[in-house]
Subunit: 372 residues, 4 copies
């Protein structure tokens, strides 16, 4: 049986990441047919040709709609700016293609709803690029929680921080425009929500306080322009089972580069994790003598599948791109069998619902429930 | 000139800590007269006698009011349960004694106000036991902030966690009674507030979500009794200058023993700190080549006074009790000269105002401003 | 121009690692032609066929010599047990193939010398699989040393530890046989030596004390068999410029999974590194105010090439397999231009010379100089 | 019963440390009579008077021999430069005083032997200031080892590093003179040896390579003077039971301030410790599921006596000076009952024997056995 025919729209940060994943997934896992890298779209033909050559795609185009018409293309990776996701994903689904779309779905909740509707109508699989849930240590965290290793979780905290907006003197960019979204809230907020969704109950209500460290930034012509969205967010959450927690986000946290720090507090233990040390997990349980208790640093290894398919020795480490390869594998499984550890458009819409609720909560200064 | 005559009420956890501080402060600092340990009060004479012998006090009593009448006693350490602070502190001040009272002032805000009024009326010094602000690394943090080392602070996060209420099966105790206070909110919340007060602007408004991981606990007679206060708190804050932040507290965080994790985010850098590693400070600044930037772990040393008066070599470490000795020194300075790095009753009342606002915010589900 | 035609012998731990690297190198780097995965050899045809399918090779064979005759094969990856390296590498070179051979060269120094002679005679490139030197953080360490960031290095320490031989009750295996080599000395020792060779002067003399934590192990038939080589090594080194240091190795260090802890002490600073946290580097320099000095934790990022070609954002992390892709890229550069950051057979022989000197030092109980 | 009458010679770094310990030990432990601080000696009367006032001693003198004649003095703390220890300790013992002498005993082994002989002849207790063995976490480490928590220890590593000699441009001082001793070897080497002596078997043989990072230093008059001893040491050890290990020492390790990093490898686990984080211990045992194994960070707490007598809550931290108070307590116990966890002159001489063997090994370039 031939491998999936792949189309790719966009070859930036995540585009290349998708290409690498499509390229390596079969060799790593050995249980799926090698995807065929068929058609790549970029903003113009020249760039597309160049990238297709580099990334190993057979055909290239400056018009992404060409992929819809390509009979060899069965699944399309969409890695363009968020505002373009809806149009492309809906078109792809309507053309009968499976879709692997980067997160978040869309700055517009209505568009995100339309994306889900299109997925349902198409009968195709539509999956979002929430790669952090694929980290074997994040999966192990979920497994520990579900197995009761830390008892009943009663509260949690998540922080996600980087520093690409930390420089007050960096020029105004599209990232600070309202039309790109709420800023750090959707940019980052979706990640903690996606991770939590794999181990805890759904979000019931949110309360958010959003911040603009720098009220204005200088534009290219030297004038100041008001920043239209948020670089900092402090959010409280209540889950449907009464668990409470907080998510804190910053794109302006100097020195933080890829921090996703998670703490889960349970009746029998605590789990702590930080994506900047993505091959480690901290686990405290109350077992054993008090004098010998402590947080143990678990190093990723073959006992945390699918780490074993990358390296047979523990402690040697996976990298960020490996997570995308795992995601590609789960996507293929989903397409082939309907079973896969993924955030599909239905689950993704719930994440975005929470994001929009955060923005509303901030505006209204009150708790916002996700549904009545 | 003779050293201060000291009275001590209570010889438990903090009582012993005060006694050790009074006993060692002169030898450590060398610039104050040796305090004279005069009179110690406990619940009964027998215990008082025993403790006075052990802790080196001259006289002992089963009636704390005896200290008020003792002409040799000039300053009284109050280390009894919070609910007793007001009566004792007010009586001591009225008797013309200086007061060194453990935090918080009182479960009752009205009582705390009366304490402040008594302090003002007395002309004596009234200081609270906020020892964490005395840690040389916390002081260095404040110095860095004030000197602009991380630019303008725009947001912050503080966590304070221990696990003494983490065991769901631990019996119901006074700690879960409403009359002891709001639980973790006043038990722990005052510490982050005290630390922040030494480096940032005052709190303008708070929003709190308080949690009870265990709704009831078993009493001595085997029946379940409802827990009346909170073991978990998630709090958002806005300061008067617009800085926003969050404080998160838990007495039910398995494995955390003395965590006070502080993160300050500024326009030029970030500071991170954790009291469990109280001899370290993490500092990130954007200076130097990007390839060589990173959080630096600063080890406490003689360049962080008054560490130098304890040990002349860096990296050898201070301990929790040393902080109280520093506090005793600042108290003596305050009594002698009016100058000292302390939280007096006036500042302390502001901290308690914020605590009560948190409780009110939780009840009302809305932001509560500290003053109109 | 077509990409290199690749042959692969062996598909175990490192064989798969090579296959993944050959498969991904072009997409990651974009500046080399895509290697063509031509011919794969395993112990039998059936396994070879299966692996060729999984790993994307065109042809498969149960006889590795078939690769020598395959005109499409230009470079051969040799990933078989160490004792087979010499025969295969020499044959490959004589057949006009470039060679990418896993480390170490051979348990026999004479064989290693023959391998180098064959490489020289062939005019082909012969490169060893020392992947840790490719870690962007290890490269950055070398750059810092060479640029004088820590002044003149005067001493160093390296530890390399795993725990696969830590279980006293694990059965006797080939790893404990003398014919497999000296045990941890060649198994691990070559890695620190390879890393040090990229930043410090050559080794002048060694003194070694080698240990057998367990004198015998139980064989399959239940009898005890003497362990013939070493699981623990403590080695002192002097470099040609007088720098002194130590390398300590253990295959019996419970809990260590991939530790390669390096400390370099210089006249102006210190560097510390641990492969278990391969995306971090610790740097101390004496610049700035003493009160603010400390080891800074540098997170891997785009400023540490070629990290930038994997992920454009810092702190997201590379993994073990990524190092092999970098190595493949350096190998291709070496083949194409003669320039590449690799350990070739000439450099590799020097590493093995030091290993054999360690064994001799232990036997003789004296310093052994590497050359007269 | 009155507390011990104390004399103190020297009030520098360790002198103040002794004074603080004598002053606080009774209040902390509550089970010993309060020592009476009787007589303090310094180089001149003026300084002695000043220090006696600050440190709370009753009498002061510029002539240390006055303490010998003081009938109230029962025990004498000797905290002067190493070269003076022998004369003072012997005189004190001959005068019938107990002795608490800072480490090491003496730069001269013959003098150290005379010190032991004097102690034996006197019938008094003679104890050395090896405070690190008093750290509750070091004690817990010893307890874990002895209880078999990590099985049979088969190898170990210790590093001790500071940076007070790291600056190449720092002027020549007495520390670099041969008459002060071997440099880092005795300055630091005695500490690892003292710690190891509390948990492992005695040293059988040593092999040492000693280093001078800077061959000469500039004197006050601007000329270069040859450095006469060593700032760096790499030492291999074999214990009487066949355990092997290494000790590495540096006074020239930029950024290290109080590092004493210990690793003990056993047949069932590993312990790791660093004095710079003196309130933590790392323990790995092979118990539990492999997927959940890891080094656990044990925080010091009341389960690690005598921590409980300092603070009743875990994770709050002891400091360097607290270790001396524990040592004072053990000394008092030793004086009162003959039982105490101390390094007396007999054990101390064995430590010094190993130090001199290291120096000889370096000179001779061979293993040196401690006894025939």
């Amino acid at each position: 049986m031939a491998g999936l025919g792949v189309g790719l729209i966009g070859t930036g940060y995540m585009g290349k990441c998708h290409a690498l994943a499509w390229n390596s997934v079969a060799s790593i896992f050995g249980d799926v047919e090698r995807p065929r890298l068929i058609h790549l779209a970029e903003w113009n033909r020249e760039l597309a040709d160049d990238q297709a050559h580099k990334l190993g795609f057979k055909r290239a185009t400056g018009n992404w709609r060409d992929l819809l018409l390509d009979p060899e293309v069965q699944v399309i990776s969409i890695t363009t700016p968020n505002a373009l996701h809806a149009e492309m994903a809906i078109a792809a689904l309507e053309a009968g293609k499976h879709v692997w779309c980067e997160k978040p779905m869309s700055p517009s909740f209505a568009d995100a709803e339309r994306m889900l509707a299109a997925a349902k109508a198409s009968g195709r699989k539509a999956v979002l690029g929430y790669n952090y849930i694929q980290n074997p240590m994040v999966r192990h965290m979920a497994k520990l929680v579900k197995s009761g290793a830390i008892g009943q979780v009663h509260s949690f905290r998540v922080e996600m921080d980087e520093d690409f907006m930390a420089d007050a003197n960096a020029p105004f960019s599209w990232r600070s425009e309202a039309k790109s979204g709420y800023g750090v809230v959707d940019d980052f907020g979706v990640h903690p929500l996606s991770i939590l969704s794999t181990m805890l109950e759904p979000v019931e209500a949110v309360f958010a306080d959003l911040g603009k460290p720098y009220a204005s930034r200088v534009t290219a012509d030297g004038t100041a322009r008001d920043v239209e969205n948020f670089d900092v967010a402090h959010v409280l959450l209540r889950l449907t089972d009464g668990v409470s927690g907080a998510i804190q986000l910053s794109r302006a946290a100097w020195g933080r580069k890829g921090r996703i720090a998670i703490q889960l507090f349970g009746s029998d233990g605590t789990i702590a994790y930080d994506q900047e040390r993505m091959n480690e997990l901290q686990l405290f349980t109350r077992s054993g003598k008090p004098a010998d208790q402590g947080f143990r640093t678990i190093l990723a290894g073959p006992d945390h599948p699918p780490y074993n398919l990358f390296v047979p020795a523990a402690g040697h480490g996976l990298g960020f791109n490996d997570l995308k390869a795992i995601e590609a594998h789960e996507l293929i499984r989903t397409i082939k069998s309907g079973q896969g550890h993924v955030i599909d458009f239905a689950k993704g819409l719930e994440i975005e619902r929470a994001i929009h609720a955060m923005a509303k909560s901030h505006s209204d200064g009150r708790w916002v429930r996700l549904r009545d």
